[in-house]
């Protein structure tokens, strides 16, 4: 199947307008970048709705969009678990219980919260792992973008890579975190407006939701599942084998709904940074809730069209097919590309392509803007500057360091992109490894925020121990049919899981449990190192309750949280 788009002049015009605005926003924000806080923390001045859209946009990178449409085809509506049970409870928890400590403690990053609550070495461990993870992620996304531009638009790989890196560098260097956040909001609207025509056309082509259900039944039954397995979310999760995801309800609940999602949404600085940039405490607490509302509807834009693609693939009259890889397997990640190609004529096609471009670039910018903050505050200011000069040097020095870190981050990302193009497996492997820190990190931060007894040394050991347990489990387990050691089993393939998803869930569950156990036991064995006074603003029981009575009732975080909860329950019942 040919993946090339036939773009017209009109499509290039749309793209050019977008690039002009991206750079223009960076330029317009340049005059506000007078100190390190403005550059690295957006001066804590972003309105709640802007930060809220940026909050979900950061996660809506192009790799996510492409992957989720492909997953819609492979797993059907079960993919929505990543947007509902696998995101919403964690976002609500972050908003109601955790944001006040991140925001109120005056920490400038998640690693810095660890330093204030625990000790320097816990921060150091987290900061270094996080810094490496962000440049890896940005490099992988850069590589994927250049590859996509080569395959779809026929552009030169090297030129695409350097041009996109240069644009991202230009606007993050000019406008810092504010620029990254503004462009994420821009990206959010382009994704919605650019993909909507495709989503509507594909659904009307298959006869709407009911037409989709009818046409899917024989196809899905042919695969050995119930006819409505692809259009249900919880119905067939009583056993792992009854649904295409290969995970039972308790696995979805505990693995995805708790460990993986809380580890991601509540502790990943890339995400939390958006809420920490909000203009006030109330705004910061509302950010994840405002983001949660559009988040719940994104599946209709990217997952449902993927499910419809399964019908198209099985109808020879539609002439729809996915490109194949060297092993003769369909490349599911190209589902959304092929859908855009199938339905959009020149004009709106330009908007669709721009939407993908935008999400690639803002994904990179997000990583770079989180990297430069952690580098400047958590690595440079705490480890390098004390040796080379005055620790509390003027702020202007840190602004310069932040800007240099931005350039450095982009350069390392380019290098990572080239490594990914030569040794893709190694990069995937490294990314899997580094993301294993999330589950133990959540355990440690959770205990830190809600249990005053937990100590710094215990937290450090818990974090490291949980990470090592995750590594050990990954080394000892394989998903069925894995052909490379990247997927696990590099020590010995003792445990076999039916699908990779199940392996991921269990890795996270083991890592989380180990980190919790270690931190609790070691904390109980040691003396407390911080007094109640030290923990004011850092631990739930040691911090005065927030008084929302000055805020109108319908503007309070609790009220928003209830609305978010109701929408999620209604959606889950509708698509049960």
């Amino acid at each position: 199947m040919d993946t090339k788009f036939a773009l017209g002049g009109i499509d290039y015009l749309v793209m050019a307008v977008y690039f002009l605005f991206v750079l223009g926003i960076g330029w317009a924000l340049k005059k506000y970048m007078k100190n390190a806080s403005a550059f690295l923390e957006a001066g804590r001045s972003i309105p709640a709705w802007v930060a809220g859209l940026a909050f979900i946009s950061t996660n809506l990178g192009a790799l996510e969009v492409m992957g989720m449409t492909g997953s819609g085809l492979k797993y059907g509506m079960l993919t929505t678990h990543f947007y509902w049970i696998g995101a919403i409870p964690a976002m609500v928890f972050l908003a109601l219980f955790m944001m006040r400590f991140y925001y109120g403690s005056k920490a400038r990053s998640v690693p810095e919260y660890l330093k204030l609550r625990f000790n320097e070495k816990t921060r150091g461990l987290n900061a270094i792992l996080f810094a490496v993870m962000t440049v890896l992620a940005s490099g992988i996304s850069m590589y994927a973008l250049a590859l996509l531009l080569e395959n779809v638009l026929g552009w030169n790989f090297n030129i695409s890579l350097f041009a996109s890196a240069a644009i991202v560098l230009a606007y993050t260097y000019l406008g810092g975190l504010s620029s990254a956040i503004y462009n994420e909001v821009l990206q959010f609207f382009i994704i919605v407006i650019g993909l909507m025509p495709m989503a509507i056309l594909v659904m009307s082509d298959v006869g709407g939701w009911s037409g989709l259900q009818t046409s899917l039944a024989p196809i899905v039954e042919g695969k050995g599942f119930a006819g409505d397995a692809w259009t249900s979310t919880w119905k067939y999760t009583a056993s792992a084998s009854g649904n295409p995801l290969g995970v039972a309800w308790y696995g979805i609940f505990a693995g995805l709904g708790f460990v993986l999602s809380f580890g991601y949404w509540c502790t990943n600085f890339l995400i939390v940074q958006r809420a920490m940039a909000a203009e006030s405490m109330t705004a910061a607490r509302k950010v994840p809730l405002i983001g949660a509302i559009p988040k719940m509807f994104i599946p209709f834009l990217i997952i449902v069209p993927g499910i419809a693609a399964l019908v198209l693939m099985n109808d020879p009259l539609k002439g729809f097919a996915l490109p194949m890889n060297n092993a003769g397997q369909p490349i599911y990640d190209y589902t959304i590309i092929m859908l855009l190609k199938q339905y959009l004529p020149a004009g709106v096609l330009g908007l669709g392509v721009t939407a993908l471009l935008a999400s690639f670039m803002s994904g990179m910018a997000g990583n770079v803007s989180a990297f430069n903050t952690v580098w400047t505050y958590d690595i440079y200011q705490s480890y390098i500057r004390p040796v080379t000069g005055n620790k509390d040097a003027d702020d202007r020095h840190y602004l310069k360091v932040g800007k240099m870190a931005t350039i450095f981050g982009v350069l390392v990302s380019i290098a990572a992109a080239y490594i990914a193009s030569k040794f893709g497996n190694i990069m995937d492997f490294l990314q899997t490894i580094f993301s294993m820190i999330n589950a133990p990190l959540f355990a440690v931060i959770f205990l830190g925020m809600f249990w005053k007894r937990s100590t710094g040394n215990a937290a450090f050991t818990g974090l490291l121990g949980g990470f090592l347990i995750a590594l050990l489990h990954h080394g000892l387990s394989v998903p069925e049919g894995a052909t490379t050691l990247v997927k696990g089993g590099w020590i010995a393939p003792l445990i076999t899981y039916p699908v990779e998803m199940a392996q991921n869930f269990w890795t996270a569950i083991y890592a989380f449990s180990a980190a919790t156990l270690l931190t609790v036991i070691l904390s109980l064995l040691a003396k407390r190192t911080k007094t109640d006074d030290d923990l004011n603003g850092l631990v739930y029981s040691m911090t005065p309750k927030l008084d929302d009575s000055a805020v109108l009732w319908y503007k309070r975080p609790w009220f928003l949280a209830v609305i978010v909860g109701i929408i999620m329950i209604v959606l889950s019942i509708l698509f049960w």
Binding site: V17, L29, I193, P345, G347, V348
Partner: protein
Amino acid sequence: MLDIRFPIGLMFSIFGLIITIYGLATIGHDAMYVRSLGVNVNLISGICTLTFGLVMLFFSDPVRKLLKKKNV
């Protein structure tokens, strides 16, 4: 600080304008719209995008300030 609604409004108004005009210019080009099930998706999508852009512009700080000044 810069009100984000202004650049968003401006950009989507331009997008909307470009695509609406293209949609108008391609009325009757049925071959081109076979893939979009016979619908002139540029025209519809362009008008929606333009509307969204204008609404954003209308509510943005610079435009509201301008309107206020004129009323006074």
